[in-house]
Symmetry: C2
Subunit: 390 residues, 2 copies
């Protein structure tokens, strides 16, 4: 499982003291080669954290030897001192592992606006690197420790893997429970593969995969400053992967992780899939699904097991997608509750007690489709996010 | 107070049985003339309720003799039968008051997707018209009854007035507690004036006033299908108002009502004013303020009295406004908590216990400004909106 499933990778997760709880809060994933190809996708938020600013430079040449991630602080809006902290962290990793600091990606997650403690970070890097150089970073336990170290309000670590019959493997870990919205769906994700692919091939596959997975997870409409998805390729399998097969496998791993993120979203009591069909374009389908996923009234209704399709259509109506406003069908959990903009089956037939909710919106405007994943708006979401900083 | 403050207007509010509670749920405001000038602004949601579709036709010639409003059902997504209900309501009002049905504006508010009971509506119209024709619709009590009849989840009626030394008056009433977002800020509003102004003058003043008041109230980011602001002019004062003075007075009345809507927003425990200054354009200021007002994480933090300025900047960063992401200042309730994208005064100095909250965002990109009004995201908001349909 996780980032150590693919050969050529080692991982460690340690407690550096950044989390008040004393739990694991620093992870390193090292690419042991022979290749050190890499690709990344970052948040599209214009307010970007220092690790994102740093990692954009690291990835410019398509090479990364390691990635270091910490929870317990986002290192965002911390100015020159914060950037220096990120830089020093990369230098420490480079020194301990014998690689260039310029090939070390950095990710941070936690509260915005607080300085990270560089002393604790450095101690954590030293401990994690010691485990890696001692050769204890290769098994599933090491991958799990890394996955645990990046958790914030996550209640469980998130890992996935895919083994190709051709002899290569993709593995990954993710964190993310709040600020889940696209571009990307606020998260840190590290995916590893031992397939023989160069950085351009990894980049193309990663962009294609995130576009239809993490970018379509919109739990609470809030876009993070720290989102990073990194894909590292060791080439250790010696097998040159078929690009189409690899893209499909990578997409499957990303989808698996995205669904784990949705299932563990802060305070949520329903996992909602909003499927928009017969749209004039894929963009239209995404736009409509996203508008519904961002309606607090719709999301609060689902929390209360209320199949309030009026709130679905009110959200659809705020978009510029192609449709006849009075020609839309809505089905909730298989019950066609609205046909051509009029009531159809009685609301009472809709059973919203299961955690999984399926909203089907038929725009009757074309043949394109997209599904947006979101969650309901609950008392617990409000509670967790009002108490986060305390 | 209210819609009967200006001369030349009568109002009535009755219980037609549309609300299960048996409370008042139908109002008529009649323009007694001599003028019957009118202007309206409607929701920009493409999914529009039947009363909106009807009223767009009524207002086309700038003439309205009366407006009838009901709570207890939005008459939206109710198809041909729903439109016929709206039409029949206007016909009933026209017949009882001796005016053309084509000069009767109709507004409805309540749950989307249920048919209104035309029999109850007609009985209510008959009762309200009887009061009007008996001459008991002229006082403040009549205005209050009308304001009460349009309430849904509002906890109190909303009324405002402005008396000009020049001898004319503006009065108004409003409802709206959820689905408060622009274009317009989901509501029904009726404003009356006895100033001598034609419909084109009323229209210009109304658009200018709503642009900087109701359109800048964004309580929960959800846009309604039924929003209507109607301005009726009787000319009964005989005084031709100065247009600039009238526009200022109308804006003051609209702002007063908008602030009453904010103060009574569903479940809210804080009234938040997000003031964006030194923007490159007014549109930029509005865009930035609105992005912050729609961040559930920011709103949940304010509920928890947490001055989480990182969530402010994370929301600002999602916009395309002109600014240097690392050159923004943020003050909360007078404490400069972030300067040029770095921590400044300690969070602990910010007192968020008062209901009124002021967020000041300095973009350092120009000289334009705008203020968006919003509310926090609370347990009660979630509760009220998960139970709405039941």
């Amino acid at each position: 499982m996780s980032v150590t499933a693919a050969s050529g990778f080692a991982a460690a997760g340690v407690a550096a003291g950044l989390k008040a709880s004393g739990k694991r809060d620093l992870a390193i994933v090292q690419n042991l080669g022979p290749l050190s190809a890499a690709a990344t996708v970052f948040t599209t938020n214009r307010c970007q954290a220092n690790p994102v600013i740093w990692s954009r430079q690291v990835i410019a040449d398509g090479v990364a030897s390691a990635i270091v991630l910490n929870s317990g602080g986002a290192n965002c809006y911390t100015g020159a001192q914060g950037f220096q902290t990120t830089h020093a962290t990369a230098e420490a990793v480079g020194e301990r592992l014998g690689v260039s600091a310029g090939d070390v990606l950095v990710c941070s997650t936690g509260l915005i606006g607080d300085q990270l403690d560089l002393g604790k970070l450095t101690t954590g890097v030293t401990d994690a690197a010691a485990a890696l150089t001692a050769g204890v970073g290769l098994g599933a336990d090491a991958g799990l420790a890394a996955a645990e170290a990046i958790m914030t309000t996550d209640t469980k670590p998130k890992q996935a893997e895919h083994r190709s019959p051709a002899g290569w493997t993709v593995g990954g870990m993710a964190k993310g429970a709040g600020m889940l919205a696209p571009g990307l769906a606020t998260m840190l994700v590290v995916i590893t593969t031992d397939a023989v692919l160069d950085s351009a091939q990894l980049d193309a596959a990663l962009r294609a995969a995130t576009r239809v997975t993490f970018d379509r997870l919109d739990s609470d409409g809030c876009m993070s400053t720290n989102d990073t998805v990194a894909l590292l390729g060791s080439g250790a399998s010696g097998v040159a992967a078929d690009e189409a097969e690899f893209a499909a496998a990578l997409t499957a791993v990303c989808r698996d992780l995205a669904e784990q993120l949705q299932a563990d979203a802060e305070g949520a009591s329903h996992d909602i899939a909003i499927e928009v069909v017969n749209a004039a374009s894929e963009d239209d389908a995404v736009t409509v699904g996203r508008a519904v996923s961002r309606s607090n009234l719709f999301k609060a209704a689902i929390f209360g097991n209320d199949p309030n399709w009026g709130r679905v259509l009110a959200a659809v109506g705020t978009t510029d997608a192609v449709f006849d406003p009075y020609g839309i069908d809505v089905a909730i959990n298989g019950i066609q509750i609205c046909t051509a903009g009029e009531p159809d089956q009685p609301r009472e037939l809709v059973d919203l007690t299961p955690r999984a909710v399926h909203i089907l919106i038929d725009l009757h405007a074309g043949s394109e489709t997209a599904t947006i994943l979101t969650n309901d708006l609950t008392h617990d979401y409000v509670h967790e996010n009002s108490a986060y900083a305390s």
